[in-house]
């Protein structure tokens, strides 16, 4: 049976204003790309924040790599690569230094850092920017670098919130290949996106979130995924 890398059971979190998520059950298995799609404010980022401990669930439980998120230790987090809201990069440092620091923070042994950084610079086509300060990079290249920072340590679980927002078409393809390569090697990925066509190309499963609830799944191979998405959202909003 395929190992479950991420599991949410009945998870709920409500912000003081009333927004949030409720009753969310979701799983990501090894080798699976699980996409989360929804409109702005549907609860995608909140869900990801709960997975990473940025918020504590008010209901239900979150398990990351078999450990309850509140009790997860360094050995658990060393197996996770996450990009939510902002990458672990600093404008005053160049790309290589940022990746080296991120690699250390993700638990790579000091001696293995140069090789890991070199590999991911090549993989995400960033070698020409290796000594460029991040503040001088375009938004797309800065985002590519941020993604490189969460891929370098070979995580077993990826959590990526809108990873293609600033990427150009070439960057999107590069990232897609990087995710699919890792999934083929057993990495599980939870990826949120607005881009239905894009997630249809990489996802094994697509969950739709609306009004803070998971309201169904889309068939990644379906012929009119956009229509199916809006039908599910409409159903949730009018229910």
């Amino acid at each position: 049976m395929t190992e479950t890398l991420l599991r949410l059971d009945g998870v709920g979190y409500t912000y003081p204003g009333g927004a949030g998520i409720r009753g969310v059950d979701l799983a990501v298995r090894a080798g699976e790309v699980h996409a989360l799609v929804g409109l702005n404010g549907a609860g995608k980022s909140t869900l990801m924040k709960l997975v990473l401990g940025m918020l504590r669930p008010q209901a239900g439980s979150v398990e990351v790599l078999g450990a309850e998120v509140r009790a997860a230790g360094p050995e658990v987090w060393a197996g996770v690569g996450a990009f939510v809201e902002h990458p672990l990069t600093y404008g005053e440092l160049d790309s290589t230094t940022n990746l080296e620091l991120a690699a250390r923070m993700h638990g790579i042994a000091r001696g293995d850092v140069p090789a890991a950084v070199g590999d991911v610079l090549d993989e995400l086509d960033l070698a020409r920017y290796a000594r460029v300060k991040v503040r001088r990079l375009s938004a797309g290249n800065a985002q590519r670098l941020g993604l490189a920072a969460v891929l370098a340590h070979g995580p077993r679980l990826l959590v990526l919130d809108e990873p293609t927002t600033a990427l150009d078409p070439a960057g999107i393809i590069t990232l897609r290949e990087a995710i699919l390569r890792r999934a083929a090697a057993g990495t599980g990925a939870l990826v949120s996106s607005h881009h239905l066509d894009e997630v249809a190309r990489i996802a094994d499963r697509i969950s739709v979130i609306a009004e803070g609830r998971l309201v169904g799944e889309l068939d990644p191979g379906g012929v009119d995924i956009e229509r199916a998405f809006f039908a599910k959202v409409h159903e949730a909003v009018t229910a």
Binding site: P74, H86, Y90, T97, L101, M105, G107
Partner: protein
């Protein structure tokens, strides 16, 4: 504490690349000697009679003597005020920049815990403050020699050493800025605390308040060592330790609900 060594290496590297820490440190290490050297020159008759009279009123008759003792005393007074702002700004920036730059979400979900990250930031702050204070007294000594104040005596060296200790005690006090910058998630909130600390300490000294007030006792001790008991300085250390503990705990409990 999980990953403290890694966090310290990472925070040190970030600090070395920081223009904020570099410029603030240089302004303090060079600015205080420049101000004091100009005061000594003025006290020697380099300024107008009105300026000399104002100097006398502000810094006292000892400074007007324009000798090593005057240089150390004036440096102590200027450093006491300037270092509160400089180190408060440094402490505030070190923790608050993660909120200002939006990088704080990326500090979750890592094998290096946020307690370790916050502790590393505070250690880097104290090391930076020590470095700046040592540079400041070295520049002061060079300035005194260049002004022809004669050879350094033991008493002068002790006065310069007190300036280093004053700076370190001030760096501990300035950790209050780190607490507020964390709770408010804002660099400017921490800087505001530094400004309020200066004003409070200055008023306290001006009105002759108790030497046991932690915000004022380091400056009083550095100027008149015999007048401040060791317990009052221990209270400064305790204040800094409490601020450090509050900062680290706030980082450990941090949630991104807003």
């Amino acid at each position: 504490m999980t990953g403290f060594g890694t966090a310290l290496a990472v925070e040190s590297r970030k600090a070395r690349a920081s223009w904020t820490l570099r410029v603030t440190g240089l302004l303090l290490a060079l600015g205080v000697p420049a101000i004091v050297a100009s005061l000594v020159v003025a006290a020697r008759g380099g300024g107008t009679p009105e300026a000399r009279a104002q100097l006398l009123a502000k810094l006292g008759p000892e400074v007007v003597a324009a000798d090593w003792h005057a240089l150390v005393l004036a440096s102590t007074q200027v450093t006491a005020a300037a270092s509160v702002f400089a180190f408060g700004m440094g402490a505030s920036w070190l923790v608050g920049r993660e909120f200002a730059d939006g990088t704080v979400p990326a500090l979750f979900g890592l094998p290096v815990g946020r307690r370790a990250i916050a502790t590393a930031k505070l250690v880097v702050h104290l090391c930076w403050a020590l470095l700046v204070c040592v540079a400041l007294v070295v520049v002061l000594a060079v300035a005194g020699l260049a002004l022809g104040l004669g050879p350094l005596t033991g008493a002068t060296a002790a006065g310069l050493a007190r300036i280093v200790v004053l700076g370190l005690l001030t760096a501990l006090i300035s950790l209050a800025a780190a607490v507020v910058a964390t709770l408010a998630r804002s660099v400017l909130a921490g800087v505001a605390v530094a400004a309020v600390t200066i004003v409070t300490a200055q008023i306290w000294v001006f009105v002759g308040g108790s030497v046991w007030f932690p915000l004022a006792s380091p400056a009083l001790w550095a100027m008149h060592p015999g007048s401040v008991p060791a317990g009052a300085l221990a209270l400064v250390v305790a204040f800094g330790a409490a601020c450090a503990a509050l900062t680290v705990e706030a980082w450990r409990r941090l949630q991104l609900a807003r």
